[in-house]
């Protein structure tokens, strides 16, 4: 059974639609700027959604809704998708998030921080009949949620899925990453020799997945989610889990490495992650495939990143354009990979999306644009 990704939507600092986001990226705009977190942390380089602009936008979706900010982000992301694709009785909502409404803990509100409650609220807002599925698997959640959607459709658990992903920029997460010494004091530089760590970001993303064959759809051809079994916070030095994930995805898709036109990688700009990815890609003979990280544009959006970056990957495929890896200037990994440095128009058909995360998780997904699809 073939499973496809159809409509998509993004709510991010770069805009409130997939088109707006992609246009900004094409014009070389990054969301990363100095953002004030609190009196202790001060300001850090991060991607943050403009409060006034978003509130104005949300008014046009629902002027009466009174819920948490994270619920509004999810509703804004999903609304256009539901408008274009009416829910069926067996439609399922799949939510990807690492921390959900963790901001509630700062207000001593434990109940509001339960992730399943967040999913149930969105579920009932849109009128889903089935119970939602929530995937919380560190930074691979976004790609893993798509993998789950594809598999659940294949096993006929549902005929379509509305996959949403979200995480907010919070002092909870910033403080944690700082304790890990993982944050950069400058805009991040994935794969670069001078990279010094991550910038965090936030976004809400929604996509519609089903087994219908439509003209503007991209097929999920293969996917795998394999653990490193090495360390809970550091990636495997040999990129074992990522290597196995990509290998299995390629096998399922029945394609070879040389058929991949573009890799949308994880590229957090930490020394270890980027190095690990370069090793894994080389082990699979993918070192010449044009590759980028999109985290220079958005920051690391955690549970949203896998889905956000997949949507941008799909736009690259549909528009036949390779996007430069923002922040990269010179090779910073011991093994060479082909980092995209200039925007380039090129016929693209097949892309590989990868993600890695705390807990030794990895996900790989192969996306293919249909032959008869033409868009410039």
């Amino acid at each position: 059974m073939a499973v496809f990704i159809h409509d998509t939507n993004i709510i991010s600092p770069l805009g409130f639609s997939t088109t707006d986001n992609f246009q900004k990226i094409l014009s070389g705009k990054s969301a990363i700027e100095m953002v004030f977190i609190n009196d202790k942390i001060g300001s850090v380089y991060a991607g943050k959604i403009n409060e006034d602009l978003f509130n104005d936008h949300f008014q046009s979706i629902n002027a009466d809704f009174k819920g948490s900010r994270i619920e509004k982000l999810l509703i804004a992301a999903l609304s256009p998708i539901v408008e274009k694709n009416s829910l069926k009785n067996d439609s399922v909502l799949i939510l990807s998030t690492t921390k959900g409404n963790i901001a509630a803990l700062a207000n001593n509100d434990l109940n509001a921080a339960f992730i399943d409650q967040l999913a149930l609220n969105i579920n009932s807002y849109f009128g889903f009949k089935k119970e939602p599925i929530v995937v919380s698997n560190a930074c691979t959640s976004g790609v893993l949620a798509l993998s789950i959607a594809k598999r659940f459709i294949e096993m006929e658990q549902c005929s379509n899925a509305y996959v949403v992903a979200v995480d907010e920029l919070t002092s909870f997460v910033v403080s944690g990453f700082q304790s890990f010494q993982a944050m950069s004091n400058e805009p991040c530089k994935p794969y670069d020799a001078d990279r010094t760590g991550v910038n965090l970001g936030e976004a809400a993303v929604a996509v519609f997945v089903s087994n219908e064959d439509r003209t503007e759809s991209v097929q999920i051809l293969g996917d795998a989610n394999i653990n490193d079994a090495n360390h809970i916070s550091g990636p495997s030095r040999t990129g074992e889990g990522l290597f196995l994930s990509i290998e299995k995805a390629l096998n399922e898709a029945q394609i070879a490495s040389n058929q991949i036109d573009y890799i949308s990688a994880h590229g957090t700009a930490t020394l270890f992650n980027d190095e690990m990815e370069a090793i894994a890609f080389n082990r699979l003979n993918l070192q010449n495939v044009p590759t980028n990280s999109l985290k220079g544009y958005f920051g690391h959006t955690l549970g949203a990143s896998g889905l956000l970056e997949t949507v941008i990957t799909i736009e690259s495929l549909k528009n036949n354009v390779l996007i430069p890896s923002f922040g990269y200037q010179q090779q910073g990994t011991t093994q060479q990979i082909n980092i995209i440095t200039k925007k380039e128009s090129k016929a693209l058909k097949t892309a590989l999306k990868t993600a890695s995360g705390f807990g030794g998780s990895n996900s790989a997904m192969i996306l293919i644009k249909k032959e008869d699809h033409v868009r410039n």
């Binding site: 698997n137 659940f152 989610n225 394999i226 653990n227 079994a229 807990g359």
Partner: protein, 196 residues
């Protein structure tokens, strides 16, 4: 047709294997209870003591379940209701007061529920498929189907399913192993009996 080959239940008072009590809790605290079970296993795994309570629970349940299991391609499907909220509260506490502000990396790393999967993967060297789901109650319907899907499509040779609950001192772990041959049919009824 698939089967459940073994199941482990841990509650505030006992540890049961396949429905029979194998350990009785004589301690006041969770930490002491788990330490006793750990010691009784006669293994040397000092990392155990660094784990947060949710991971200790997942580790012990998996350790008991995977004793004598040599297979390495075991998919891990863990779930709970509270994700990592118990440890999240600890991290929040460490940053709440800006005058007494000491976030700890050893705490922060556990503010993700899938670290339970990570710890079990590392311990048993399982380079396999996994996912952490969050739901109000155990989702027998799709977990039953998904476990069989992973086996049918050869994405795993066995599947370890677990419900791990730990929040503010209350805990419960219900783990079962799904594979081709076992002691019970892998049915929704049997799963519901195990998870209750």
């Amino acid at each position: 047709m698939y089967a459940i080959s073994k199941f482990i239940n841990i509650s505030q008072h006992v540890v049961c294997e396949n429905g029979k009590q194998i350990f009785h809790n004589q301690e006041d605290t969770f930490a002491a209870f788990m330490k006793n079970v750990y010691k009784s296993l006669n293994i040397s795994y000092p990392k155990f003591y660094k784990m947060d309570d949710l991971c200790k629970l997942a580790f012990i349940a998996s350790e008991l379940l995977l004793q004598n299991v040599t297979e390495k391609d075991i998919a891990l499907l863990f779930s709970n209701n509270e994700a990592s909220l118990d440890t999240d509260l600890k991290h929040q506490q460490s940053i709440q007061n800006l005058e007494d502000y000491y976030p700890s990396p050893a705490v922060f790393v556990y503010t993700l529920p899938n670290i339970t999967i990570g710890e079990v993967s590392i311990r048993h060297q399982l380079k396999s498929e996994s996912a952490f789901f969050v739901a109000e109650k155990y989702q027998t319907e799709y977990l039953h189907k998904y476990a069989e899907y992973l086996l049918k499509t050869n994405k795993a040779q066995k599947v370890l399913c677990g419900w791990i609950h730990f929040l503010e001192g209350n805990y419960k772990a219900d783990f079962y192993l799904v594979e081709k041959i076992g002691i019970l049919e892998h049915s929704k009824e049997h799963i519901n009996d195990i998870i209750k």
